[in-house]
Symmetry: C2
């Protein structure tokens, strides 16, 4: 579905506004970042399809043919890789404005699963179209390269976390990253509702779910958080910061 509101109606309903990249309120967080208004119109020719993914369903799976990238519009996803022998690792959580599917470019097949953790919707970005549009459209190409590179930098940060932090530090870093991203989207960074289970957090952080649960309880006992199952209130972000920033190892 494309934004085809006629020029005669300058004031468009919110629903319609959200359809075009140029007027999407995620444009500062998504692929359009850094593009001019003019450029955005051309980007819209690319992003011409939407897809909804119900909670628990997968947007794509490891082994699926790769044909498109997906920008999260609403909802929340996790990506996870599974080795042949069944080892499972959550590699990231994605929220509005973040891109899914970059792993698929390498071999034209996806290398991870993307699962919706709540009812979600995505913009479908046909990859062949993106490549050909990039050919004539320097700013888009550059923007896309930056996004891929940013993902590589993010992954290096996760390696640092997994390789050098202890349980408390990992959870603190996770919470701070989450609240930061939520705040960038206009949500509260103190009253947070987790979309994932303790097991999924644990998988992402290289910990067992019991360790995650215990660490939440410990943070609560210390007055850093208020924890009611998935409802988290961050009381002392500064203390979490210091935990991450003070290497004891």
């Amino acid at each position: 579905m494309q934004n085809s509101t006629p020029h005669s109606t300058p004031i468009r309903p919110v629903e319609s506004l959200q359809v075009a990249c140029a007027s999407c309120n995620l444009r500062e967080l998504c692929l359009p970042l850094g593009l001019s208004t003019n450029d955005l119109d051309r980007l819209d020719t690319l992003v011409n399809r939407r897809r909804t993914v119900p909670k628990g369903e997968q947007l794509f799976r490891s082994g699926d043919n790769f044909a498109a990238l997906y920008a999260v519009r609403t909802g929340f996803f996790k990506t996870s890789v599974t080795s042949e022998d069944g080892r499972d690792q959550v590699t990231g959580f994605q929220m509005a404005g973040e891109l899914l599917g970059l792993d698929g470019i390498s071999t034209d097949r996806h290398h991870c699963d993307a699962t919706a953790l709540e009812d979600s919707s995505v913009c479908v970005i046909n990859y062949a179209d993106l490549e050909s549009l990039s050919q004539h459209f320097t700013a888009l190409q550059h923007s896309f390269h930056k996004i891929m590179s940013r993902e590589i930098v993010r992954d290096q940060g996760v390696m640092l976390l997994l390789g050098s932090m202890r349980a408390e530090e990992r959870l603190a870093a996770f919470l701070l990253n989450l609240t930061e991203r939520l705040e960038a989207r206009g949500f509260s960074g103190t009253a947070v509702v987790l979309r994932m289970t303790r097991e999924e957090i644990g998988s992402y952080l290289g910990l067992k779910l019991e360790t995650v649960s215990r660490t939440f309880s410990k943070f609560q006992d210390e007055g850093l958080l208020e924890v009611k199952q998935r409802q988290i209130r961050v009381l002392r972000a500064d203390a979490l910061q210091q935990m991450v920033a003070n290497a004891t190892r």
Copy 2:
């Protein structure tokens, strides 16, 4: 330095042969992968500079301005990230044909250090030139995207290792990955000389150097390896394989 051997001398010395991508023996492992001979000549206009990096020196550091990518010609590198508080994590080891510097695209500054673990040389690929050449050169653009995506997939594999494997499994996976890449370059996959210290291996694998050393000794006791400091002989790759493939967690 560009390859300007005249047409009148079809048989060129090996030294000169190596200068052009088209005749580089790394072309199957490097950026040129998948490009036609014709395309390769155009790629050569891009790769017009070499740089040597003595053992222990850095090719680039975190915070350096980003202007170019580097393809390893000879030698061996490590990349590592350091957090503000001094935590250090080796994020990869790079050998001939592998690309360094992709992290820099995101913010025009490097986010990791690249250190030569032995006297090394690299091809300098000016990034601005790469972007503009990609504009007119579909195959190159596609090839470059695949390389970035492959890096993302590789990173996911490291996360799986760090998040879900125990010490023995990590070291086994590390050794198998190393021997596989050495074999792809025509080196022995059984008689290996490690270019990095136990501490660097440990950092990469999220283990302390003592644990790495102990695990090497254990593998030797079990007859899987012969370990003489950095000289490793792989005696039972199959047993290492099975160790990685059999999740006990």
